[in-house]
């Protein structure tokens, strides 16, 4: 039988649509309200809450825990001190990405890693003689994400410690009397926090957050709203934007960190003191320039899009529902030069946007390409340009409460018209 999240009682009571799907063997809500766009709007405009408990969670402890993770994870765990968290990836020895996840460091020898897929055997087989114990704590823990511009106000009302958390920091706190960890993390690209609590405390934590959030118009949001926000945030999704190398059928289905645009994670890759799985291959790829692709953002040319649909006798659709199918990318000479893996109309950016991989030489922001659509049952190419991701990155995502308000950046993010 499909599992229920620790928050299930509250989630079920809030779900007005009876629409459920399965995520990592758990029952999860597609949308609580009839309008997923309303839930999404709450993330960008007020505050939303999301049950991310189905993630796999591993506790990694022991005197060699840092050395172990340093050898497995591509991003340098030594730069993540206690009270900090890191978005990270782990690769195979050919330099292909297996998976991504977030690691929370609780102490010198104490880590919690969250991942979308099971990884216990994979990690255990890599322990060798190191003094490390890995235990799966997936069912013991609930995770409640609180995301949006009002999330800090909601959290601060429950636990004042949250107010001073910097981006990707975490702290121990108490909510409704229950011990929790509050981290400034999330999958929406907005100001946001996640609360990790014991499964038994989940209902009390949900109730406290809902009550503290009510004056701020808090809205539970489901999978659809989350998947909308994450495309705008330029956050990759496994089995959509990439596949785990160890389960891929061939190299066409594998990606390297550089190809996924995660090169920023590889700071210190030349430090000989930290060998990690895939390092040699990644360095070789970097030095020889052998990347096949580069993950970029695409922004569809709105005029060309409107013109082509209108000429076909249609109202140009602006559908915010994420499309997780390959869409082909061509250059102006009709040569296929890449493919998009996630596509949507972004209500915040007010454009059709896609996460796509293109040939590395086309990855410069502003480069014009063409994205293939189906209009009146025929393939039609519509102009688009390469853009940096995230498409939407408000200052509040990383700023502190007393930071001065920044002016709009000259630097193009969503649009490079």
């Amino acid at each position: 039988m499909v599992r229920r999240s620790p928050f299930h009682d509250r989630v079920a009571a809030a779900n007005q649509t009876s629409l459920w799907s399965h995520w990592a063997g758990h029952l999860v809500v597609d949308k609580y309200e009839m309008s997923e766009k309303f839930e999404y709007t709450a993330i960008r405009n007020a505050v939303g809450m999301f049950d991310s408990s189905p993630l796999y969670k591993y506790r990694i402890v022991g005197p060699d825990a840092e050395r172990f993770l340093g050898g497995v994870l591509a991003r340098d765990i030594r730069t993540c001190g206690p009270g900090q968290a890191q978005y990270t990836i782990w690769c195979d020895d050919r330099g292909f990405v297996n998976e991504d996840g977030v690691v929370f460091r609780h102490g010198d020898d104490d880590f919690l890693l969250t991942a979308a897929e099971p990884n216990l055997a994979y990690f255990e087989h890599l322990v060798g003689s190191q003094r490390v114990v890995i235990s799966e704590v997936t069912d013991d823990i609930g995770i409640l994400a609180v995301q949006g511009p009002r999330s800090r106000a909601v959290l601060a009302a429950l636990a004042p410690e949250a107010d001073r958390l910097a981006y990707f920091e975490h702290t121990d706190a108490k909510i409704a009397g229950a011990p929790v960890t509050i981290s400034r993390t999330g999958f929406t690209g907005d100001l946001g926090f996640e609360i990790v609590c014991a499964a038994d405390d989940a209902n009390a934590v949900w109730d406290a957050v809902a009550a503290a959030g009510e004056p701020h118009r808090i809205q539970p949001f489901g999978q659809t709203a989350l998947l909308m926000a994450r495309i705008e945030a330029g956050l990759l999704l496994i089995d959509v934007d990439f596949e785990a190398s160890r389960f891929a059928e061939n190299d066409e289905h594998r990606s390297t960190p550089l190809e996924l645009g995660l090169g920023w994670m590889l700071k210190g890759i030349d430090d000989e003191a930290r060998p990690f799985i895939g390092r040699a291959a990644i360095r070789r790829e970097r030095d020889e320039g052998t990347s096949r692709w580069k993950m970029v953002g695409l922004v569809v040319d709105w005029e060309d899009y409107d013109r082509k649909f209108t000429a076909a006798g249609m109202v140009p659709p602006k559908d915010h529902t994420p499309v997780h199918e390959d869409m082909m990318v061509y250059d102006d000479d009709a040569r296929r030069v890449g493919y998009a893996t996630s596509f949507m109309y972004s209500p915040t950016v007010q454009r059709h946007i896609a996460l796509a991989r293109v040939r590395p030489e086309l990855a410069t922001p502003g480069t014009n390409v063409n994205l293939e659509f189906t209009i009146n049952h025929s393939y039609v190419k519509v102009g688009a340009h390469v853009a940096r991701t995230p498409f939407f990155a408000p200052d509040r995502k990383t700023s502190m409460p007393d930071d001065p308000v920044a002016e709009p950046a000259d630097d193009e993010t969503g649009d490079a018209s």
Partner: protein, 534 residues
């Protein structure tokens, strides 16, 4: 004697003035925008009248904003943020209600509760309206031809129009004509039997205009409001983050980023003309500013009879402006609320307040509200378009509190035997009493109310007779004839003097259309002039 020199001066910092100035600056003109008040926005402003409570004093929703403006002026970068209204709520006098939402099947079930017949009729109506809107949209979004221009260019523009109309399906043309000439009530009767559904839809046929839903001409108003577009859906409206003042602040930032200089507290006294040509403006403080192009975002009356001397204008233009009808009939009553109203039959539900709350349960209710206006009085039980923006935008009110914008119809500018100074409280009492009758206990929630009569709209926002559209949406004042026959292409008889307010095509509502289209015409004229010189 001039203090400073510009390529273009735009008079008036409402949304059309801001849009126009932004486009002119984008084209490289050194552009100055002059605003009489201490803030830009015109009739699209948000004011904190009580600590933490943001009032949308006048306009209250993002209605017909042209999508190309969002892109061309790069508004997203400057904070443009439309907020979906996920519901529409129509309380009924028998205590029942119609709640429309985002899910088609839910809407079908809800309509079928009132009339099974109307369930699929609603889909047909929506489809038919979409087809009409699609047919009209190219005309809405372009400079209209001048019916009286017999030059080759003018005739070519008319021929283009004829070709476009000939390309439209006959049934769509017929629906268009029925809307342009008929009443909203008749049009809706062709589809529906449910009183509440017709009341809900007919309200779009009266807003801002001195017509009842049974009056010929209300069909045109219904169509006009259906021209709204939000994220690719026709007829859908949105709130802007921070209210409509939030939107005009975005426009101002965009205009400034493109190079527009904005000067506040600068009231224009007159446009300076030399030999039939505009050369600048004079402010009431005596400052004179020079520019080859002067654009008035004000209404036609001020544009033609106050900023310039009507004796300089052709007699037939002056005469048609004299007959141009304003007759504002709308008011606002805005409330600061201690909590959300309760609708008894819906128990503790409050999600229905996230969009418009339509107090106009039947066509007859609306028409009876109009009856009093015909004879110079305001409605005892008015039509109210309520919007509790704070239900979806927490920035509009302190935690746990709310603001409610109420658009009120009918409240004629000219009262028979009384004045608005004498009647304002009673008018607001009528609004509050009406709300109390639908939401028992409403009055206990009221912390403060702001009353905005047609006279206030005139004196504060500067809109003559308080007409929110810079002049009525009547067929003789639209398209070829807005604001006057032969002067529908944003030009004036004075060379270099242009108009870009809602008194020009396509008309009122927060569309930005007039400001954008006027900029196209101005830039076209400048290009023609410079090519003549070379």
């Amino acid at each position: 004697m001039s203090d400073r020199e510009y390529d273009a001066i735009v008079i008036g910092g409402g949304h059309n003035g801001l849009v126009n100035a932004a486009y002119l600056a984008k084209a490289g003109l050194r552009t100055l925008l002059l605003e009489r008040r201490h803030l830009v926005g015109g009739a699209a402003i948000t004011e904190e009248l009580r600590p933490g409570f943001q009032f949308t004093t006048f306009s209250y929703a993002l209605s017909l904003l042209r999508p190309n403006i969002i892109h061309e002026l790069d508004l997203v970068r400057h904070g443009f943020m439309p907020l979906l209204m996920p519901s529409s709520f129509c309380p009924m006098e028998n205590g029942d209600s119609l709640v429309m939402g985002q899910d088609r099947n839910e809407n079908i079930k809800e309509i079928a509760r009132h009339s099974p017949h109307d369930a699929d009729a609603y889909d047909q109506y929506s489809h038919d309206m979409d087809m009409v809107v699609r047919a009209v949209k190219p005309l809405f979004d372009s400079v209209p031809p001048n019916l009286f221009d017999t030059s080759p260019d003018g005739l070519a523009e008319l021929a283009d129009l004829a070709r476009h109309l000939r390309g439209i399906e006959p049934t769509v043309v017929h629906n268009l004509v029925r809307l342009l000439t008929g009443s909203a009530a008749d049009f809706l009767d062709d589809y529906f039997e449910s009183d509440v559904l017709k009341g809900y839809l007919a309200s779009s046929g009266i807003i801002g205009t001195k017509v009842g839903p049974m009056s010929q001409g209300s069909g045109l108003v219904l169509l006009f409001h259906s021209m709204g577009e939000h994220d690719g859906h026709f007829g859908k409206w949105a709130f802007h983050k921070g209210g409509n003042g939030g939107f005009t602040q975005v426009l101002a930032r965009a205009a400034e980023a493109l190079g527009t200089e904005i000067t506040l507290n600068a009231e224009v006294e007159r446009v300076i003309t030399t030999n039939g040509k505009a050369t600048g403006v004079a402010l009431t403080d005596g400052t004179e500013l020079r520019a080859d192009v002067v654009v008035s975002a004000a209404d036609p009356r001020r544009t033609f009879t106050e900023f310039v001397d009507p004796r300089e204008l052709p007699a037939d233009l002056v005469d048609s402006l004299r007959r141009y009808r304003y007759q504002g009939t709308s008011s606002k009553v805005n409330f600061a609320l201690d909590g959300l109203p309760r609708y008894p039959s819906l128990g503790d539900r409050s999600d229905m307040f996230r969009g418009f709350t339509n107090i106009g349960p039947t066509v007859e209710y609306l028409e009876r509200a109009f009856d009093e206006a015909k004879y110079g009085w305001y409605s005892t039980r008015p039509f109210i378009d309520g919007a509790i923006q704070s239900t979806i935008d927490p920035d509009m009110a302190p935690p746990g509190k709310h603001v409610m914008s109420c658009f009120v119809h009918y409240t004629p500018y000219e009262l028979k035997g009384s004045t608005w100074d004498a009647e304002r409280e009673q008018m607001a009492d009528n609004v509050q009493d009406t709300l109390e009758s639908f939401f028992p206990g409403f009055g206990d929630l009221v912390l403060q109310r702001e009353i905005v009569t047609p006279l206030d709209i005139e004196t504060v926002a500067g809109l003559p007779e308080g007409n929110i559209f810079h002049g009525e949406f009547l067929a003789p004042q639209m398209y070829f004839f807005r604001p006057a026959p032969g002067w529908n292409q944003y030009r004036t008889p004075i060379d270099g003097y242009y108009q870009c307010g809602s008194g020009t095509h396509p008309g009122g509502c927060v569309s930005g259309g007039p400001g954008w289209l006027a900029s196209k015409q101005i830039l076209k004229d400048l290009a023609a002039r410079s090519s003549q010189r070379t």
